[in-house]
Subunit: 417 residues, 2 copies
């Protein structure tokens, strides 16, 4: 493994570190670390054909491009993360006037969100470094993903959540057997406490925008898109990718995946990457619009809880993902997000608010001519609507109540025979 995983590079000051010298962020300036590979020898030893022939129907098919030594979780949910379906809903592409539209459905991951990709690789890393405990701060998808992937292989997990976390989300963590500590404070206090506890007790900390391995898991969707594009000879223009953005780690991961492929010489064209934020949780979009990399925290207030973030922990790389690829940022209102839940539902895709946010961003990007109708477009649904049924209820008008008679049916019907 050593020969492919060369070390880390700080995304802020470009300092480089050996694998054994650091664990989390840059010791100099606290910047997020990118994992760097020995691309020349990877290129020599591997090829797109070889990956295709691996036969693994999960993100583990990309093992040569991941910073772990082996496939983990044989026969468990950890083994089946990734390789999510790409739907091509014709009614939506017609509605939008798009030539090509794909929806990559991350709700099909084992714990029903994109976060399983990150947790899969972090748990694999935890096994390889012999970590006794993996810890994270989270109330939502990241916590569920860590708890689920850890449970799959019998890895101990501790989750810090603010006391105000919805009991239903906490229940999922508990069912997965994680030890859950509800902190009498806000999310930032839970975040800081999880890092302190990791230091104190020698635990391995998964926190997003802190542990460099989450990005490596999250980059794998880029590989899946790339493999798909290789099979589509009719696609010549670069793909426009839309993804919702909270702390910025998913969009940065997607960008990293494509950058890895570019450095291997395996990617013909870098896709344009578009980040979509809720307008009342838009710290990264604000910086993008201002033309800086300076993130100013906001007081986040959106029903899309998975991307409701005051202080994004991976903002700089998230800005670059759009800026360096000819993409952009968009912001959408909660009402636009709710409308997109209903739109996606009508083609059989049930998204949580953060999942539907990217689609709302696409609608706006077309209005603003940021993408043309001829461009091939891919939109991520990052999480299942089952994660937040209350938001789903707000996205549609209520059902009609009728007496149990045919007459009442007839009177109520929108859908005659």
């Amino acid at each position: 493994m050593k020969n492919k995983f060369l070390g880390y590079q700080c995304s802020q000051c470009n300092s480089e570190y050996n694998p054994e010298d650091v664990i989390y962020t840059c010791p100099r300036d606290g910047g997020n670390l990118d994992i760097i590979y020995d691309y020349p020898s990877l290129k020599q030893d591997h090829s797109p054909e070889k990956i295709k022939k691996s036969g693994l129907e999960s993100l583990w098919r990309y093992l040569p491009l991941l910073p772990v030594g082996q496939v983990h979780g044989d026969g468990t949910p950890l083994q089946v993360v990734g390789l999510t379906p790409m739907f091509s809903p014709q009614r939506l592409s017609e509605q939008l006037g798009l030539r090509y539209l794909w929806i990559k459905d991350e709700s099909r991951n084992p714990t029903a969100s994109y976060k399983d990709r990150a947790s899969a690789v972090v748990v694999a890393r935890a096994r390889e470094i012999g970590a006794s405990v993996v810890v994270t701060a989270s109330t939502g998808n990241a916590g569920a993903a860590l708890a689920g992937m850890a449970a799959a292989v019998g890895q101990k997990a501790v989750i810090f959540a603010p006391k105000t976390a919805p009991p239903a989300k906490v229940a999922q963590l508990l069912v997965f057997g994680a030890e859950v500590l509800l902190v009498d404070g806000n999310y930032d206090q839970a975040f800081d406490l999880s890092i302190q506890a990791a230091d104190e007790f020698g635990w391995y900390c998964r926190n997003t925008g802190y542990n460099p391995f989450t990005l490596e898991g999250k980059k794998t969707s880029a590989f899946e898109i790339w493999e798909f594009l290789l099979s589509q000879e009719s696609i010549r223009s670069p793909l426009a990718i839309f993804v919702s953005v909270g702390d910025g780690n998913i969009i940065s991961g997607i960008h990293k995946g494509f950058k890895d492929l570019l450095r291997l010489g395996w990617l013909a064209q870098m896709p344009r990457i578009f980040g979509v934020q809720a307008e009342r949780s838009a710290a990264i979009a604000n910086a993008f619009f201002a033309g800086t990399e300076q993130i100013i925290p906001v007081k986040a207030d959106t029903l899309a809880d998975s991307i409701s973030v005051d202080l994004p922990r991976d903002g700089v790389r998230a800005i670059r993902a759009a800026r360096q690829t000819g993409g952009a940022y968009l912001t959408v209102s909660d009402d636009e997000i709710l409308a997109s839940i209903a739109t996606l539902g009508q083609v059989g895709i049930f998204a949580e608010p953060a999942g539907a946010t990217a689609y709302a961003g696409l609608v706006k990007a077309l209005q603003q001519d940021l993408v043309s109708r001829d461009e091939p477009v891919l939109v991520f649904n990052t999480g299942s609507g089952l994660k937040d049924v209350r938001a789903a209820m707000k996205s549609v008008p209520p059902a009609i109540v009728i007496e149990p008679s045919l007459k009442a049916v007839e009177a109520a019907l929108h859908t005659p025979g």
Copy 2:
């Protein structure tokens, strides 16, 4: 297509009908109809090897053994139903002392339950007969599956649910764009009204235990198990399969799948099939224990809502699935179901109560020596825990609340470093 789908046979009186002569149940005695195939020509034209080579990673790989003419739902969630993962959680097999244990995880279907299999085939059939509307009575998984699969291909769907249905479940139906009519009455009234409306308006009715195509969708998991067993040379004894039972249609479907394979001469040994019911919703188990096929309705009362059934609509075939295969029925308490949610969660599988019921049945079957530790065992998880988070909350003790300090962490911990 005609040449493979020969017609129907009544499971009660054995009367046979041509495909165009009936739609739902036996006109003579109301018995459930089995779809019969031209097995000799199927055997001539197809083979296990050919199925394997189809390349389709869904239940559509079994198209030759399904009563529809083509694959439906290209590029939509309808196309990716089935071929669910089989996990082999080592900690559970060790805990139970079993040599081989697999968990087939149906929560990985597009709308997160086994019911997608049935709805996929019914929606395909609806398209082929040009149905304007598909209708069903349901509050839960079957309704979600129909609404989701119909939405995938733009098929209109109407769902009748009792007024008392949980708003969250109704929301999922509405998000999928189904027309939902809440009947001011109980489930049986909704069931009857849906059939009347189908007759009156010329709609196609999906009701479980009424439409013979649901069973054909549900049989496909048997094919997946069979294909898996073909690849396992070390397995010599017949498999013991555990599945939860409500109206009896899933267990009957699994049985039908294996019977199809037997008639094709492709199955070496019929698995033993074990049905598991909640003890306060046990109409089918009661009849099994009494040695009859006479189903006496009960007043169902279990937290496993997906298998809470007063009058099972597919009881006779469900009894035979166990009786004719050397299997049995078991009943389990709600507490045993809750305990199984926690047990499965600890290996990363999040099951709804009906999903965990089969595992609770396995635990009991081992206590009663109904299966031996040497027998290979497969347990179905039929639905996702995200469908019923309230039950999940009952399955585990609550989380601990702490002050935001390391001291408080240390004092609260079960999991030291």
